[in-house]
Symmetry: C2
């Protein structure tokens, strides 16, 4: 309570009319970045451990390296992991700051939007190949493979689902930073 | 020149120190929205007209309805078309306004970010199925179909490429709105 009183007292002294200080949403921001990191790491581990060997008549592997879609997802997840670590630092230091810089917010929106696009496209890419594996496509004689490689498909499916969480969280981060920036224009 | 002189003269009268008015980027914004609309319509038309009938021993169709991935792209493109028309109106009226409302900018960021995510995932989804059609996947015996259905594949490929343009433009729109909002915090 004392600190908010101080804020409203000091504001008029600077010659400007009193104004509500914009909210610092970096607590939520940091939490969401932690979620992006956690989901990207989970998806990455589940994807990388998806190898399954099946002895049908002869032993055959199902590996995520067999499809470029899963390699793209792997790269996107690795980049997202690194990115979320870097921005978590920025977010963590901004929590303690009373008014985070608009420049930081703008840059977070910029990179979060790009990363959200990359993650969303990677999720779609891997998801659709996983769907063909699950259902097959009788029109072009693509057989389903998930009845054989059940563990492999479970890994790929889970990885895609967790990647979807990361993508949606990145879009949420864009919206939160935009809201912080919007609240700072009320002056 | 006369109008900028007027601006710098009138600013101190209001009691605030003189400040540069934030730039109105809605000209670019409108242009980019037009690009989103044009690319979404192009991709939509190319996707919908992608049917190809091939008489191999028997006549067989390749239709985009045969794959849920292309139906998802179709829905995403249709939604993006509608969305770009609606926001083009908002953008058009904001061009003439000397200082567009921060609330409008925030809402544009919010919806542009969501639409960018949807379009990026739809592009990835359709692109990966098109890639399997082009290259096949020998590990799971998915045969390539683009050597048979060349015209169909050309349509799907072009539609995906133009959808990628729409996705990237939507991310650019997020960045431009964020920049406008950021420039409005310098007061």
């Amino acid at each position: 309570m004392a600190s908010t009183d101080e804020q409203t007292k000091t504001a008029p002294e600077s010659g400007y009319p009193p104004r509500r200080s914009p909210p610092n949403l970096f607590g939520i921001d940091f939490g969401l970045r932690l979620l992006v990191f956690a989901s990207a790491v989970t998806a990455l581990v589940v994807l990388v451990t998806s190898k399954q060997t099946k002895t049908i008549p002869i032993s055959r592997d199902a590996k995520f390296q067999h499809s470029p879609a899963f390699i793209y997802l792997l790269v996107a997840l690795a980049v997202t992991c690194l990115y979320s670590i870097v921005t978590m630092f920025a977010s963590f230091f901004a929590i303690s700051s009373p008014s985070p810089s608009p420049k930081l917010l703008f840059h977070l929106i910029l990179f979060d939007a790009v990363m959200a696009g990359v993650m969303a496209s990677a999720t779609g890419t891997a998801g659709s190949v996983a769907y063909v594996g699950l259902k097959g496509n009788s029109h072009v004689n693509w057989n389903k493979i998930c009845n054989l490689y059940d563990k492999f498909c479970w890994h790929i499916g889970s990885s895609t689902a967790v990647s979807l969480v990361a993508s949606i969280t990145l879009v949420l981060l864009v919206v939160i930073s935009a809201y912080s920036l919007y609240r700072r224009t009320n002056c």
